[in-house]
Protein backbone atom coordinates (compact mmCIF):
# COMPACT_ATOMS: atom_id res chain seq x y z
CA UNK A 1 0.00 0.00 0.00
CA UNK A 2 3.05 2.24 0.07
CA UNK A 3 2.83 2.91 -3.65
CA UNK A 4 -0.70 4.16 -3.11
CA UNK A 5 0.48 6.71 -0.53
CA UNK A 6 3.34 7.92 -2.73
CA UNK A 7 1.10 8.34 -5.79
CA UNK A 8 -1.55 10.25 -3.84
CA UNK A 9 1.13 12.49 -2.31
CA UNK A 10 2.67 13.19 -5.72
CA UNK A 11 -0.72 14.00 -7.24
CA UNK A 12 -1.62 16.33 -4.39
CA UNK A 13 1.75 18.06 -4.62
CA UNK A 14 1.25 18.65 -8.34
CA UNK A 15 -2.29 19.95 -7.82
CA UNK A 16 -1.05 22.25 -5.05
CA UNK A 17 1.85 23.68 -7.07
CA UNK A 18 0.12 24.03 -10.44
CA UNK A 19 -3.51 24.73 -9.53
CA UNK A 20 -3.96 25.86 -5.92
CA UNK A 21 -0.99 28.25 -5.77
CA UNK A 22 -1.82 30.19 -8.99
CA UNK A 23 -5.43 30.54 -7.83
CA UNK A 24 -4.37 31.71 -4.35
CA UNK A 25 -1.85 34.14 -5.84
CA UNK A 26 -4.61 35.96 -7.75
CA UNK A 27 -6.50 36.83 -4.57
CA UNK A 28 -3.39 37.54 -2.48
CA UNK A 29 -1.99 39.93 -5.08
CA UNK A 30 -5.38 41.64 -5.44
CA UNK A 31 -5.60 42.27 -1.68
CA UNK A 32 -1.93 43.19 -1.24
CA UNK A 33 -2.79 46.81 -0.47
CA UNK A 34 -5.93 46.00 1.48
CA UNK A 35 -9.64 46.13 0.81
CA UNK A 36 -9.56 49.91 0.28
CA UNK A 37 -7.37 49.66 -2.83
CA UNK A 38 -9.40 46.66 -4.00
CA UNK A 39 -12.68 48.56 -3.96
CA UNK A 40 -11.04 51.72 -5.33
CA UNK A 41 -10.17 49.75 -8.50
CA UNK A 42 -13.68 48.37 -8.71
CA UNK A 43 -15.13 51.89 -8.50
CA UNK A 44 -12.97 53.14 -11.37
CA UNK A 45 -15.11 54.03 -14.43
CA UNK A 46 -12.72 52.14 -16.77
CA UNK A 47 -13.21 48.98 -14.70
CA UNK A 48 -16.98 49.42 -14.91
CA UNK A 49 -16.79 49.94 -18.66
CA UNK A 50 -14.71 46.75 -19.03
CA UNK A 51 -17.07 44.69 -16.84
CA UNK A 52 -20.08 46.08 -18.70
CA UNK A 53 -18.60 45.30 -22.11
CA UNK A 54 -17.67 41.74 -21.13
CA UNK A 55 -21.22 41.16 -19.88
CA UNK A 56 -22.70 42.77 -23.01
CA UNK A 57 -20.64 40.60 -25.40
CA UNK A 58 -21.45 37.45 -23.42
CA UNK A 59 -25.17 38.32 -23.40
CA UNK A 60 -25.14 38.26 -27.22
CA UNK A 61 -22.72 35.38 -27.78
CA UNK A 62 -24.20 32.76 -25.44
CA UNK A 63 -27.80 32.85 -26.82
CA UNK A 64 -26.46 32.72 -30.40
CA UNK A 65 -24.28 29.69 -29.72
CA UNK A 66 -27.07 28.13 -27.66
CA UNK A 67 -29.43 28.28 -30.64
CA UNK A 68 -26.69 26.93 -32.90
CA UNK A 69 -25.76 24.17 -30.44
CA UNK A 70 -29.33 22.91 -30.12
CA UNK A 71 -29.91 23.01 -33.90
CA UNK A 72 -26.63 21.24 -34.65
CA UNK A 73 -27.22 18.59 -31.99
CA UNK A 74 -30.78 17.95 -33.22
CA UNK A 75 -29.59 17.55 -36.82
CA UNK A 76 -26.58 15.37 -35.96
CA UNK A 77 -27.90 13.23 -33.10
CA UNK A 78 -31.48 12.57 -34.19
CA UNK A 79 -30.90 11.97 -37.91
CA UNK A 80 -28.66 9.96 -40.20
CA UNK A 81 -27.11 11.57 -43.24
CA UNK A 82 -24.00 11.45 -45.36
CA UNK A 83 -21.03 13.51 -44.21
CA UNK A 84 -22.16 13.54 -40.60
CA UNK A 85 -18.73 12.92 -39.10
CA UNK A 86 -17.32 15.63 -41.37
CA UNK A 87 -19.91 18.06 -39.99
CA UNK A 88 -18.90 17.15 -36.43
CA UNK A 89 -15.26 17.87 -37.31
CA UNK A 90 -16.32 21.25 -38.72
CA UNK A 91 -18.16 22.10 -35.51
CA UNK A 92 -15.00 21.28 -33.51
CA UNK A 93 -12.80 23.28 -35.88
CA UNK A 94 -12.71 26.55 -33.85
CA UNK A 95 -11.07 24.62 -30.99
CA UNK A 96 -8.05 23.85 -33.15
CA UNK A 97 -7.65 27.36 -34.53
CA UNK A 98 -5.36 29.58 -32.47
CA UNK A 99 -7.36 32.50 -30.99
CA UNK A 100 -4.95 34.99 -32.55
CA UNK A 101 -5.55 33.45 -35.99
CA UNK A 102 -9.31 33.60 -35.34
CA UNK A 103 -9.04 37.33 -34.70
CA UNK A 104 -6.84 37.83 -37.76
CA UNK A 105 -9.40 36.13 -39.99
CA UNK A 106 -12.00 38.80 -39.18
CA UNK A 107 -9.48 41.57 -39.82
CA UNK A 108 -9.10 40.08 -43.32
CA UNK A 109 -12.87 40.10 -43.86
CA UNK A 110 -13.97 43.33 -42.18
CA UNK A 111 -10.72 45.33 -41.77
CA UNK A 112 -9.90 48.52 -43.73
CA UNK A 113 -8.22 46.51 -46.53
CA UNK A 114 -10.44 43.48 -46.15
CA UNK A 115 -13.20 42.03 -48.35
CA UNK A 116 -15.95 44.31 -47.04
CA UNK A 117 -13.59 47.04 -45.80
CA UNK A 118 -14.36 49.57 -48.52
CA UNK A 119 -18.10 49.06 -48.33
CA UNK A 120 -18.11 49.30 -44.52
CA UNK A 121 -16.04 52.49 -44.66
CA UNK A 122 -18.36 54.05 -47.25
CA UNK A 123 -21.36 53.28 -45.07
CA UNK A 124 -19.58 54.39 -41.89
CA UNK A 125 -19.94 51.02 -40.16
CA UNK A 126 -17.16 49.99 -37.82
CA UNK A 127 -16.65 46.30 -37.08
CA UNK A 128 -12.91 45.92 -36.53
CA UNK A 129 -11.58 47.91 -33.55
CA UNK A 130 -15.18 48.11 -32.38
CA UNK A 131 -17.66 46.02 -30.41
CA UNK A 132 -19.25 44.10 -33.35
CA UNK A 133 -15.86 42.60 -34.28
CA UNK A 134 -15.29 41.57 -30.68
CA UNK A 135 -18.71 39.90 -30.56
CA UNK A 136 -18.15 37.90 -33.74
CA UNK A 137 -14.60 36.87 -32.74
CA UNK A 138 -16.00 35.62 -29.42
CA UNK A 139 -18.78 33.75 -31.27
CA UNK A 140 -16.06 31.98 -33.27
CA UNK A 141 -13.96 30.79 -30.32
CA UNK A 142 -16.93 29.68 -28.21
CA UNK A 143 -18.95 28.12 -31.05
CA UNK A 144 -18.30 24.41 -30.25
CA UNK A 145 -18.96 24.46 -26.48
CA UNK A 146 -22.73 23.88 -26.32
CA UNK A 147 -22.96 21.74 -29.47
CA UNK A 148 -20.22 19.34 -28.36
CA UNK A 149 -21.83 18.99 -24.94
CA UNK A 150 -25.25 18.16 -26.45
CA UNK A 151 -24.28 15.91 -29.39
CA UNK A 152 -22.91 12.92 -27.41
CA UNK A 153 -25.67 13.27 -24.83
CA UNK A 154 -28.47 13.25 -27.42
CA UNK A 155 -26.78 10.46 -29.39
CA UNK A 156 -26.67 8.30 -26.27
CA UNK A 157 -30.33 8.96 -25.53
CA UNK A 158 -31.43 7.98 -29.04
CA UNK A 159 -34.77 9.08 -30.44
CA UNK A 160 -37.18 6.39 -29.20
CA UNK A 161 -38.98 8.72 -26.80
CA UNK A 162 -39.35 11.42 -29.46
CA UNK A 163 -40.69 8.89 -31.97
CA UNK A 164 -43.22 7.66 -29.43
CA UNK A 165 -44.39 11.23 -28.86
CA UNK A 166 -44.78 11.79 -32.62
CA UNK A 167 -46.78 8.60 -33.03
CA UNK A 168 -49.05 9.85 -30.25
CA UNK A 169 -49.64 13.01 -32.29
CA UNK A 170 -47.27 15.60 -30.82
CA UNK A 171 -46.01 18.37 -33.09
CA UNK A 172 -42.26 18.82 -33.68
CA UNK A 173 -42.03 21.77 -31.35
CA UNK A 174 -44.01 19.93 -28.63
CA UNK A 175 -41.65 16.97 -28.94
CA UNK A 176 -38.64 19.17 -28.43
CA UNK A 177 -40.12 21.17 -25.58
CA UNK A 178 -41.78 18.32 -23.66
CA UNK A 179 -39.54 15.33 -24.41
CA UNK A 180 -36.06 16.35 -25.56
CA UNK A 181 -35.50 19.47 -23.49
CA UNK A 182 -36.15 17.85 -20.09
CA UNK A 183 -33.73 15.05 -21.06
CA UNK A 184 -30.88 17.35 -22.09
CA UNK A 185 -31.49 20.02 -19.43
CA UNK A 186 -28.30 19.43 -17.43
CA UNK A 187 -26.03 19.02 -20.43
CA UNK A 188 -27.47 22.25 -21.79
CA UNK A 189 -26.74 24.12 -18.56
CA UNK A 190 -23.22 22.73 -18.49
CA UNK A 191 -22.57 23.83 -22.08
CA UNK A 192 -23.95 27.29 -21.35
CA UNK A 193 -21.72 27.86 -18.32
CA UNK A 194 -18.63 26.69 -20.23
CA UNK A 195 -19.51 28.98 -23.14
CA UNK A 196 -20.17 31.81 -20.67
CA UNK A 197 -16.82 31.36 -18.90
CA UNK A 198 -14.84 31.30 -22.15
CA UNK A 199 -16.74 34.26 -23.54
CA UNK A 200 -16.06 36.41 -20.45
CA UNK A 201 -12.40 35.37 -20.43
CA UNK A 202 -11.44 35.26 -24.12
CA UNK A 203 -8.23 37.17 -24.68
CA UNK A 204 -6.26 36.41 -27.86
CA UNK A 205 -9.02 36.68 -30.47
CA UNK A 206 -10.56 39.74 -28.86
CA UNK A 207 -7.16 41.43 -28.43
CA UNK A 208 -6.58 41.31 -32.20
CA UNK A 209 -9.90 42.95 -33.15
CA UNK A 210 -10.42 45.32 -30.23
CA UNK A 211 -7.92 48.13 -30.82
CA UNK A 212 -7.63 48.58 -27.03
CA UNK A 213 -9.66 51.77 -26.71
CA UNK A 214 -10.02 52.46 -23.01
CA UNK A 215 -13.56 52.70 -21.71
CA UNK A 216 -14.87 51.65 -25.14
CA UNK A 217 -13.40 48.41 -26.46
CA UNK A 218 -11.76 46.97 -23.37
CA UNK A 219 -13.17 43.77 -21.94
CA UNK A 220 -12.12 42.55 -18.50
CA UNK A 221 -9.16 40.41 -19.71
CA UNK A 222 -7.90 43.29 -21.91
CA UNK A 223 -8.19 45.68 -18.96
CA UNK A 224 -6.12 43.20 -16.92
CA UNK A 225 -3.42 43.31 -19.60
CA UNK A 226 -3.36 47.12 -19.80
CA UNK A 227 -3.20 47.62 -16.04
CA UNK A 228 -0.51 44.93 -15.70
CA UNK A 229 1.64 46.48 -18.42
CA UNK A 230 1.32 49.86 -16.69
CA UNK A 231 2.72 48.26 -13.52
CA UNK A 232 -0.60 48.71 -11.72
CA UNK A 233 -0.30 45.17 -10.44
CA UNK A 234 -2.87 45.41 -7.63
CA UNK A 235 -5.49 46.89 -9.97
CA UNK A 236 -4.77 44.23 -12.61
CA UNK A 237 -5.16 41.43 -10.05
CA UNK A 238 -8.35 43.03 -8.72
CA UNK A 239 -10.05 42.69 -12.12
CA UNK A 240 -8.40 39.25 -12.48
CA UNK A 241 -9.87 38.19 -9.12
CA UNK A 242 -13.39 38.82 -10.45
CA UNK A 243 -12.64 36.53 -13.40
CA UNK A 244 -11.14 33.94 -11.03
CA UNK A 245 -14.32 34.08 -8.92
CA UNK A 246 -16.33 33.47 -12.08
CA UNK A 247 -14.10 30.47 -12.83
CA UNK A 248 -14.73 29.07 -9.33
CA UNK A 249 -18.50 29.52 -9.71
CA UNK A 250 -18.24 27.76 -13.10
CA UNK A 251 -16.46 24.79 -11.50
CA UNK A 252 -19.03 24.70 -8.70
CA UNK A 253 -21.98 24.62 -11.11
CA UNK A 254 -20.16 22.03 -13.21
CA UNK A 255 -19.68 19.74 -10.20
CA UNK A 256 -23.34 20.18 -9.24
CA UNK A 257 -24.55 19.43 -12.77
CA UNK A 258 -22.42 16.27 -12.98
CA UNK A 259 -23.75 15.14 -9.62
CA UNK A 260 -27.34 15.65 -10.87
CA UNK A 261 -26.58 13.77 -14.10
CA UNK A 262 -25.04 10.91 -12.15
CA UNK A 263 -28.10 10.76 -9.89
CA UNK A 264 -30.47 10.76 -12.85
CA UNK A 265 -28.53 7.85 -14.40
CA UNK A 266 -28.67 5.91 -11.14
CA UNK A 267 -32.43 6.44 -10.90
CA UNK A 268 -32.79 5.22 -14.47
CA UNK A 269 -30.83 2.00 -13.87
CA UNK A 270 -32.74 1.41 -10.61
CA UNK A 271 -36.01 1.90 -12.47
CA UNK A 272 -34.98 -0.59 -15.13
CA UNK A 273 -33.89 -3.34 -12.77
Amino acid sequence: MNIRRILIALALLFVFLFLVLPLAAVFTEALRKGLGAYFATLEDPDSWAAIGLSLFITAIVVPMNLLFGVCAAWAVAKHDFKGKSFLITLIDLPFSVSPVVAGLVYVLVFGANGWFGGWLLANDIKIIFAVPGMVIATVFVTLPFIARELIPLMQAQGSDEEQAAIVLGASGWQVFYRVTLPNIKWGLIYGVILCNARSMGEFGAVAVVSGHIRGQTNTMPLQVEILYNEYQSVAAFTIASLLALLALVTLLIKTFVQWRQHKAEQLLTQGLS
Binding site: V15, V20, F68, S98, L104, V109, F237, L243
Partner: protein
Protein backbone atom coordinates in the same frame (compact mmCIF):
# COMPACT_ATOMS: atom_id res chain seq x y z
CA UNK B 1 -40.47 -5.54 -50.04
CA UNK B 2 -39.71 -2.35 -52.02
CA UNK B 3 -42.61 -0.81 -50.17
CA UNK B 4 -41.05 -1.62 -46.81
CA UNK B 5 -37.74 -0.20 -47.91
CA UNK B 6 -39.33 3.09 -48.78
CA UNK B 7 -41.06 3.23 -45.45
CA UNK B 8 -37.79 2.78 -43.68
CA UNK B 9 -36.19 5.59 -45.59
CA UNK B 10 -38.85 8.09 -44.62
CA UNK B 11 -37.80 10.32 -41.76
CA UNK B 12 -39.94 10.13 -38.67
CA UNK B 13 -38.14 12.83 -36.72
CA UNK B 14 -39.16 16.34 -37.75
CA UNK B 15 -37.03 19.43 -38.22
CA UNK B 16 -34.14 17.87 -40.13
CA UNK B 17 -34.04 20.36 -42.99
CA UNK B 18 -34.49 23.37 -40.73
CA UNK B 19 -31.86 22.45 -38.14
CA UNK B 20 -29.29 21.19 -40.65
CA UNK B 21 -29.84 24.29 -42.80
CA UNK B 22 -29.38 26.65 -39.86
CA UNK B 23 -26.29 24.73 -38.72
CA UNK B 24 -24.67 24.90 -42.15
CA UNK B 25 -25.55 28.59 -42.59
CA UNK B 26 -24.15 29.55 -39.19
CA UNK B 27 -20.98 27.47 -39.68
CA UNK B 28 -20.43 29.01 -43.13
CA UNK B 29 -20.89 32.59 -41.96
CA UNK B 30 -18.89 32.36 -38.74
CA UNK B 31 -16.20 29.78 -39.55
CA UNK B 32 -15.82 28.65 -43.16
CA UNK B 33 -16.06 31.88 -45.16
CA UNK B 34 -13.83 33.87 -42.76
CA UNK B 35 -11.26 31.05 -42.64
CA UNK B 36 -11.21 30.89 -46.45
CA UNK B 37 -10.25 34.60 -46.41
CA UNK B 38 -6.96 33.48 -44.88
CA UNK B 39 -6.15 31.31 -47.90
CA UNK B 40 -7.37 33.84 -50.47
CA UNK B 41 -5.18 36.51 -48.88
CA UNK B 42 -2.21 34.15 -49.02
CA UNK B 43 -2.73 33.63 -52.77
CA UNK B 44 -2.19 37.38 -53.32
CA UNK B 45 1.42 36.80 -52.27
CA UNK B 46 3.97 35.47 -54.73
CA UNK B 47 5.74 32.25 -53.76
CA UNK B 48 8.92 34.18 -52.93
CA UNK B 49 7.09 36.70 -50.77
CA UNK B 50 5.31 33.91 -48.94
CA UNK B 51 8.51 31.98 -48.35
CA UNK B 52 10.29 35.11 -47.13
CA UNK B 53 7.50 35.88 -44.66
CA UNK B 54 7.31 32.38 -43.19
CA UNK B 55 11.00 31.50 -43.08
CA UNK B 56 12.85 34.53 -41.77
CA UNK B 57 15.22 33.57 -38.93
CA UNK B 58 13.04 35.32 -36.35
CA UNK B 59 9.93 33.44 -37.49
CA UNK B 60 11.81 30.13 -37.66
CA UNK B 61 13.03 30.66 -34.09
CA UNK B 62 9.43 31.23 -33.02
CA UNK B 63 8.28 27.92 -34.61
CA UNK B 64 11.02 26.04 -32.80
CA UNK B 65 10.07 27.69 -29.51
CA UNK B 66 6.30 27.30 -29.96
CA UNK B 67 6.32 23.69 -31.12
CA UNK B 68 9.20 22.72 -28.79
CA UNK B 69 7.69 24.24 -25.64
CA UNK B 70 4.24 22.87 -26.55
CA UNK B 71 5.71 19.38 -27.01
CA UNK B 72 7.62 19.43 -23.72
CA UNK B 73 4.56 20.70 -21.83
CA UNK B 74 2.26 18.09 -23.40
CA UNK B 75 4.83 15.35 -22.67
CA UNK B 76 4.98 16.42 -19.02
CA UNK B 77 1.18 16.42 -18.89
CA UNK B 78 1.15 12.87 -20.27
CA UNK B 79 2.67 11.65 -16.99
CA UNK B 80 0.97 13.99 -14.53
CA UNK B 81 -2.32 13.45 -16.35
CA UNK B 82 -2.01 9.67 -16.03
CA UNK B 83 -1.02 10.07 -12.37
CA UNK B 84 -4.04 12.29 -11.61
CA UNK B 85 -6.47 10.09 -13.53
CA UNK B 86 -5.13 6.97 -11.79
CA UNK B 87 -5.33 8.48 -8.32
CA UNK B 88 -8.83 9.88 -8.95
CA UNK B 89 -10.22 6.58 -10.29
CA UNK B 90 -8.48 3.99 -8.13
CA UNK B 91 -7.97 5.56 -4.69
CA UNK B 92 -10.11 7.16 -2.02
CA UNK B 93 -8.65 10.04 -0.05
CA UNK B 94 -9.96 13.15 1.70
CA UNK B 95 -10.49 16.07 -0.67
CA UNK B 96 -10.83 13.84 -3.74
CA UNK B 97 -13.96 15.64 -4.99
CA UNK B 98 -12.17 18.97 -4.66
CA UNK B 99 -9.14 17.75 -6.62
CA UNK B 100 -11.45 16.35 -9.32
CA UNK B 101 -13.19 19.72 -9.65
CA UNK B 102 -9.92 21.70 -9.59
CA UNK B 103 -8.53 19.74 -12.54
CA UNK B 104 -10.86 21.73 -14.81
CA UNK B 105 -9.60 25.07 -13.49
CA UNK B 106 -7.40 25.75 -16.57
CA UNK B 107 -10.55 25.41 -18.74
CA UNK B 108 -12.49 27.88 -16.61
CA UNK B 109 -9.81 30.43 -15.67
CA UNK B 110 -9.24 33.10 -18.35
CA UNK B 111 -5.79 32.72 -19.89
CA UNK B 112 -4.75 36.31 -19.12
CA UNK B 113 -5.47 35.69 -15.43
CA UNK B 114 -3.42 32.48 -15.46
CA UNK B 115 -0.62 34.38 -17.21
CA UNK B 116 -0.24 37.20 -14.70
CA UNK B 117 -0.73 34.86 -11.76
CA UNK B 118 1.99 32.40 -12.86
CA UNK B 119 4.29 35.35 -13.58
CA UNK B 120 3.71 36.74 -10.09
CA UNK B 121 4.47 33.32 -8.58
CA UNK B 122 7.66 32.73 -10.57
CA UNK B 123 9.13 36.25 -10.70
CA UNK B 124 12.16 36.86 -8.48
CA UNK B 125 10.01 38.16 -5.61
CA UNK B 126 7.22 35.60 -6.00
CA UNK B 127 6.32 32.69 -3.69
CA UNK B 128 8.12 30.12 -5.85
CA UNK B 129 10.46 32.45 -7.71
CA UNK B 130 12.15 33.55 -4.48
CA UNK B 131 13.16 29.96 -3.70
CA UNK B 132 14.34 29.37 -7.25
CA UNK B 133 16.43 32.52 -7.16
CA UNK B 134 18.27 31.24 -4.13
CA UNK B 135 19.38 28.36 -6.39
CA UNK B 136 20.12 30.81 -9.20
CA UNK B 137 17.34 29.43 -11.40
CA UNK B 138 15.27 31.86 -13.41
CA UNK B 139 11.97 30.68 -14.85
CA UNK B 140 9.90 33.80 -15.43
CA UNK B 141 10.75 35.71 -18.63
CA UNK B 142 12.57 32.69 -20.15
CA UNK B 143 11.45 29.77 -22.38
CA UNK B 144 11.12 27.70 -19.18
CA UNK B 145 8.34 30.06 -18.09
CA UNK B 146 6.54 29.41 -21.37
CA UNK B 147 6.67 25.66 -20.70
CA UNK B 148 5.22 26.19 -17.19
CA UNK B 149 2.33 28.26 -18.61
CA UNK B 150 1.64 25.62 -21.27
CA UNK B 151 1.71 22.83 -18.66
CA UNK B 152 -0.96 24.73 -16.70
CA UNK B 153 -3.13 25.17 -19.81
CA UNK B 154 -2.85 21.48 -20.73
CA UNK B 155 -3.54 19.84 -17.35
CA UNK B 156 -7.18 18.82 -17.95
CA UNK B 157 -6.76 17.15 -21.37
CA UNK B 158 -4.98 13.89 -20.50
CA UNK B 159 -6.85 13.53 -17.18
CA UNK B 160 -10.25 13.88 -18.84
CA UNK B 161 -9.51 11.50 -21.74
CA UNK B 162 -7.92 8.77 -19.58
CA UNK B 163 -10.31 8.93 -16.59
CA UNK B 164 -13.41 7.42 -18.30
CA UNK B 165 -11.36 4.62 -19.95
CA UNK B 166 -9.74 3.74 -16.66
CA UNK B 167 -13.16 3.66 -15.00
CA UNK B 168 -14.45 1.24 -17.65
CA UNK B 169 -11.35 -0.96 -17.60
CA UNK B 170 -12.23 -4.27 -15.99
CA UNK B 171 -10.50 -4.74 -12.70
CA UNK B 172 -10.99 -8.50 -13.11
CA UNK B 173 -8.37 -8.70 -15.86
CA UNK B 174 -5.84 -7.01 -13.65
CA UNK B 175 -6.77 -9.29 -10.73
CA UNK B 176 -6.47 -12.34 -12.97
CA UNK B 177 -2.99 -11.21 -14.00
CA UNK B 178 -2.00 -10.76 -10.38
CA UNK B 179 -3.41 -14.21 -9.49
CA UNK B 180 -1.35 -15.71 -12.32
CA UNK B 181 1.75 -14.31 -10.66
CA UNK B 182 2.23 -10.92 -12.28
CA UNK B 183 3.81 -8.20 -10.18
CA UNK B 184 1.72 -5.02 -9.80
CA UNK B 185 4.07 -3.32 -12.27
CA UNK B 186 3.65 -6.15 -14.82
CA UNK B 187 -0.13 -6.02 -14.39
CA UNK B 188 -0.01 -2.30 -15.08
CA UNK B 189 2.38 -2.44 -18.04
CA UNK B 190 0.87 -5.50 -19.76
CA UNK B 191 -2.84 -5.22 -18.94
CA UNK B 192 -3.79 -1.63 -18.15
CA UNK B 193 -1.37 0.38 -20.25
CA UNK B 194 -2.41 -1.14 -23.61
CA UNK B 195 -6.08 -0.36 -22.81
CA UNK B 196 -5.47 3.29 -22.04
CA UNK B 197 -2.78 4.00 -24.66
CA UNK B 198 -5.18 5.45 -27.29
CA UNK B 199 -6.78 7.72 -24.66
CA UNK B 200 -3.37 8.80 -23.39
CA UNK B 201 -2.20 9.72 -26.89
CA UNK B 202 -5.47 11.52 -27.66
CA UNK B 203 -5.09 13.63 -24.52
CA UNK B 204 -1.46 14.31 -25.38
CA UNK B 205 -2.32 15.44 -28.90
CA UNK B 206 -5.14 17.68 -27.64
CA UNK B 207 -2.87 19.32 -25.05
CA UNK B 208 -0.18 19.75 -27.72
CA UNK B 209 -2.63 21.35 -30.18
CA UNK B 210 -3.99 23.69 -27.54
CA UNK B 211 -0.49 24.71 -26.44
CA UNK B 212 0.61 25.61 -29.97
CA UNK B 213 -2.16 28.19 -30.32
CA UNK B 214 -1.99 29.48 -26.75
CA UNK B 215 -1.42 33.21 -26.41
CA UNK B 216 -2.91 34.82 -23.28
CA UNK B 217 -1.13 32.84 -20.59
CA UNK B 218 2.21 32.86 -22.39
CA UNK B 219 2.86 36.51 -23.28
CA UNK B 220 3.02 37.70 -19.67
CA UNK B 221 5.54 35.11 -18.54
CA UNK B 222 7.59 34.82 -21.74
CA UNK B 223 9.57 38.04 -21.71
CA UNK B 224 8.93 38.11 -25.48
CA UNK B 225 12.52 38.54 -26.63
CA UNK B 226 12.91 38.11 -30.41
CA UNK B 227 14.81 34.89 -31.29
CA UNK B 228 14.68 33.69 -27.67
CA UNK B 229 11.23 33.78 -26.11
CA UNK B 230 8.88 35.08 -28.80
CA UNK B 231 6.05 32.67 -29.71
CA UNK B 232 4.52 32.44 -33.18
CA UNK B 233 1.17 33.96 -32.12
CA UNK B 234 3.05 37.04 -30.95
CA UNK B 235 4.85 37.26 -34.32
CA UNK B 236 1.43 37.41 -36.00
CA UNK B 237 0.29 40.19 -33.65
CA UNK B 238 3.58 42.06 -34.20
CA UNK B 239 3.18 41.91 -37.98
CA UNK B 240 -0.43 43.08 -37.68
CA UNK B 241 0.59 46.06 -35.57
CA UNK B 242 3.07 47.06 -38.29
CA UNK B 243 0.23 46.78 -40.87
CA UNK B 244 2.03 43.83 -42.52
CA UNK B 245 -1.28 42.02 -42.94
CA UNK B 246 -0.01 39.78 -45.76
CA UNK B 247 2.97 38.67 -43.66
CA UNK B 248 0.77 38.00 -40.64
CA UNK B 249 -1.56 35.95 -42.84
CA UNK B 250 1.28 33.86 -44.26
CA UNK B 251 2.54 32.91 -40.80
CA UNK B 252 -1.04 32.25 -39.67
CA UNK B 253 -1.53 29.84 -42.58
CA UNK B 254 1.55 27.87 -41.51
CA UNK B 255 0.16 27.64 -37.96
CA UNK B 256 -3.28 26.69 -39.22
CA UNK B 257 -1.92 23.89 -41.39
CA UNK B 258 0.01 22.60 -38.37
CA UNK B 259 -3.21 22.61 -36.34
CA UNK B 260 -5.15 20.81 -39.09
CA UNK B 261 -2.56 18.04 -39.26
CA UNK B 262 -2.85 17.61 -35.49
CA UNK B 263 -6.65 17.61 -35.74
CA UNK B 264 -6.44 14.76 -38.23
CA UNK B 265 -4.09 12.84 -35.94
CA UNK B 266 -6.53 13.33 -33.04
CA UNK B 267 -9.43 12.04 -35.15
CA UNK B 268 -7.44 8.95 -36.15
CA UNK B 269 -6.47 8.32 -32.51
CA UNK B 270 -10.10 8.59 -31.44
CA UNK B 271 -11.16 6.13 -34.14
CA UNK B 272 -8.49 3.74 -32.83
CA UNK B 273 -9.80 4.19 -29.29
CA UNK B 274 -13.38 3.41 -30.36
CA UNK B 275 -12.13 0.29 -32.14
CA UNK B 276 -10.34 -0.80 -28.98
CA UNK B 277 -13.43 -0.22 -26.89
CA UNK B 278 -15.54 -2.12 -29.45
CA UNK B 279 -13.18 -5.11 -29.47
CA UNK B 280 -13.36 -5.45 -25.72
CA UNK B 281 -17.13 -5.72 -25.40
Amino acid sequence: MPHLKRLKQQRVMPGFGLTLGLTMLYLSLVVLIPLSALFFKTFTLSADEFWLAVSSPRVMASYRLTFGAAFIAAFFNLFTGLLLAWVLVRYEFPGKKLVDALVDLPFALPTAVAGISLTALLAGNGWIGAYLQAWDIQVAFTPAGIVIALIFIGIPFVVRTVQPVLEEAEKELEEAATCLGATPWQAFAKVILPTITPALLTGFAMAFARAIGEYGSVIFIAGNMPMVSEITSLIIIGKLEQYDIAGATAVAVVMLIGSFILLMVINLLQAWQRKRAGMKS
